[in-house]
Symmetry: C2
Subunit: 472 residues, 2 copies
Amino acid sequence: MQLEKVDYKKFIVPIVVGLIIWFLAPIKPAGVSIIAWHMFAVFVATIIGCITQPLPIGGVAIIGFTVTVFTGLVPMETAVAGFGNNSIWLIVMAFFISRGFIKTGLGRRIALTFVRLFGKRTLGLAYSLIGVDLVLAPATPSNTARAGGIMFPIIKSLAEAFGSSPKDNTQRKIGSFLVFSEFHGDMITAAMFLTAMAGNPLAQSLAKTMHVNISWMGWFVAGLVPGLISLIVVPFIIYKMYPPEIKETPNAKIWSEGELEKMGKFSKPEKWMSTIFVVALLLWVTGSFLNIDATLTAFIALSLLLLSGVLSWQDITKETGAWNTLTWFSVLVMMATQLNELGFIPWLSHSIAGALTGVNWVIAFVIIILAFFYSHYLFASSTAHISAMYSAFLGVAISAGVPPMLAALMLGFFGNLNASTTHYSNGPAPILFGSGYVSQNEWWRMNFVLGFVYFVIWIGIGSLWMKLIGMW
Amino acid sequence: MQLEKVDYKKFIVPIVVGLIIWFLAPIKPAGVSIIAWHMFAVFVATIIGCITQPLPIGGVAIIGFTVTVFTGLVPMETAVAGFGNNSIWLIVMAFFISRGFIKTGLGRRIALTFVRLFGKRTLGLAYSLIGVDLVLAPATPSNTARAGGIMFPIIKSLAEAFGSSPKDNTQRKIGSFLVFSEFHGDMITAAMFLTAMAGNPLAQSLAKTMHVNISWMGWFVAGLVPGLISLIVVPFIIYKMYPPEIKETPNAKIWSEGELEKMGKFSKPEKWMSTIFVVALLLWVTGSFLNIDATLTAFIALSLLLLSGVLSWQDITKETGAWNTLTWFSVLVMMATQLNELGFIPWLSHSIAGALTGVNWVIAFVIIILAFFYSHYLFASSTAHISAMYSAFLGVAISAGVPPMLAALMLGFFGNLNASTTHYSNGPAPILFGSGYVSQNEWWRMNFVLGFVYFVIWIGIGSLWMKLIGMW
C-alpha cells in the first residue's frame, strides 16, 4: 500500500494566515476577547483550507475541529453538539430522499418529461425549474427542503439523463449550470416571500421590536419587481458566465419521448416514490400551519421510503454524499456559532455601527447592506446571520436616518441574498455544492460577481421601486 | 427495479406490544406522567423492533425516531441533538481508526504476531487479548476507546487473517468468539479499577455524598478476586457456549511466520499507523491527567491519519459501519435519555425503593443488585445508568440495612457488569456488535446467561471475599 497523496504545499497559506491572525492577538481590538480572536484565526484558516484543499473539505474540517478543541477554544461537549443540529439533519435526509429518486428512476422520468415539455434549450430548462421553485416558495418556509428535497433530486436526474456527472468529469455538459442556477433561483425566491425562508419571519419580528411592522403583502410587493428582474436576469448571466456545453437540444423532444417509451410503465417503486414525495411536499408546504418541522417531514419521508422498500438501509449507509456533508457542514456551523457566542460577531456589528455615526443616510444605507452582505462569509446559516446581526444593523440604519421600512425590508431581502457568497452560506448550499457539479473556486467566484448584480437590482432598482409605491 | 424486501410480519410484535403499552396509559402508575409512559411504549417497541428486525437496526431506529417526534413526545431540536453526543463520536472515530489498521496491514501484522506467540489454541488467543485489555484498563478510563480504538481493530484483523468475516458468513470460524470474549473482557476489566471506566469515579463521588468513601485501592482490592475469577471463567464459558470452529491451530506458528515473511518489511503506511496509534494510546492513557478528552484524542488520531496520508477522506465517507452505528446508537441513546428526563427512570428507582421497605437486608441487597442489573435494558450508556439510578439504589440499600461499603462497591461493579445485557448497553457494545460478528439473538441470549455467572461470582464470591478482608 502507498500513502495517500496529500498536497502539503496547499497547507501553507491557511496555516500562515491562521498563525498571523492568531499571533496578532496582542494588537487585537479591545472589544474582542482573546478566545474570540483565536477562534476567528482558526475559522479563517479552516475556510482558506476549504479553498486551497490540501485534503477534501471533510478532512480540512476534521483538522479544524481538532485544532479548535485541542487549543481549548471550544470544549469537546459543545463542539461535538454541532453534529446534532436540526437543519444539518434536514440536509442529510435530503440526500437520502434524492437517492430514492435516482434509484427508482422516477427522477429520470420527471426529467425526461421536463425535457419533452421545455427542453428545446438548456436555458429554457433552467427557467422552468426555477419556475417550479417559485410556485413552491410562498408555501415552503424551508428553502433547504425546497432546494434539497424537491429540486435537487430532479436536477441531478436531469443532468444524469444528459450524461452529465462529476464522476466522469462531464459535469459542465449541463449539470453544473442547472445546479448553480437552482442555487440562485432558490435564493431569489426565498427573498421574495415572507414565508419562503425560515429566517424571514425572524427578521419581521426583530423589526417589530423597533416599531417597523412588515406585513406578508408588504414584503411581497416590495420584493416583487427586484425579485422578478433577478429571476429573469440571473439565470441568463449564469448562462453566459458559466455556459453549459449542451445549449440547444433540438432533437430533445423526440429523444426524450423515445427514452420515456424505453422506461416503460410507471413501476411499483416509482409509484411509492412519487406518493411519498407528494406526502413530503404537502407536509413541507403545510408544515408551518400544522406545526410539523421540516426536518420531521424529511424523517417521515425516509421512514416511508424504508417501510415501502423503495430504499434499503444499505442505500442509506452507502450515501457517502450525506455523511461527507454532515461532517464538514456541522464543523463550519459549529465554528460560526462559536464566533458569535464568543462575542466576535457582536463586536463586529457594533464596530460597523460605530463607524457610521454622522454619515449621510444614503451612503450609510449602502455601507450597511454591503457590510451585512460580506459579513456572511463568517456565517454558515442565513437564520444565524439574521439572529446575530439584523437588529444591530437595523438599529444603526434607523439612527443614521435611513427610512425604517426601507432598511428593514432591504436587510430582510439581503438576509437571503447574502447566500451568494460561499458553499456553506445557507442550507441549500452544502447540498447543491456537495453534488460535486460546481467546483469551490467557481462557486465562490461566480457568487462574488453575482453579489454585484444583486446590489444593482435590489439596492438600486428595488429602493426606487419601493419609493415609487410609497413604501418610504 | 424491484422493491426491497421488508419482512412486514416482523413488525407485528413490536407494534402490538408498543400499542398495548401506549393504550394502557389510563391505568399507568400515578407517579409516571402520560408523556413518560408513551415514551416508554415507543422505546419498548423500538427495542423489540431491533430484535425482530423487520428492517436492519438503523431503519428501525429511524422509524422509532420519527414516531417519537411525530407523536410530540420529544421536540425535534432535542431529538436531533442526540446525534451530537460526545461518546457517540468517540465510537464513530474508533471505526475510522480501525480502518487504518486494516488498510495498512498493520492490524494483520499484529494479529499474526499474536498468533505466532499465543496461537496454539483459539482460547489462548482470547486470553492473551484480554490480557492486553487488563494491562491497559487501570490507565484508560474510556472503556470505549480501549475496546473500540485499541482492541477491536486488532481482533478484526486477526479474524480476517483466519478467513473469518460476516461478509462471507464465516464469522463463526473465530471472529465471533474473539469479539464476544473481548466484549466481556473489556467489561470485567472496567469493573476492576476505579479508573477503568468513566462512570466509576462518578459512582465514587455519588457514594461520597452518602458518606461512603471508596478509595482507588479499596475498589481494586474488593474487585480483585471476583475480577480475576471472571477473567478466567467467562472466556471459557463463552468458548463452550459459543465455540469457534477453529479451535486448535497447531500449525499456526509456522503458518503465521510464513505469512509475516510474505508481508515483507514494515511499510511506510504501517510505520505511520503504528506511530499515530502509540500517540493515541498514550493520550488515552494519560488523558485524564492531561485533561484531554478521549473523543478529542480520537479526533487527533484521525487528523494525523488524514495528514500523513494513511487514510483518504474517501475511506472515511465509505466507512458504512461508522455511519450505521452513528444512526441507531444515537437514536437509542436519545430515547433512553428522554426516559430519564421525562421521569420514567426516577419513578422506577423510587418504586423499587418503596417495595423494599421492611425486607431482610440480604434479600434486599440481592434484589437491589438484580433490579439495577435488569433495569439496564432501558439504558444505552453505563454512565447514564449510574447517574440516573446509583444514588437512589444506594440510598435504599443503606436504609434497608445493607453494609454501606458493600452496597456502594457492588453497585459500582454492576454499573459495569450490567452491560451484559444488550447490544446498546455501553460504548464498546455498538462497536463490537456493529462489526457483524455476533447476531443480535446470540448477543442477547449469551449475555442473559452470563448475567447469572456474574451474580454468582460477584454477589456470591465477591461479597464473601469483601467480608473476609474486612471491608464490611
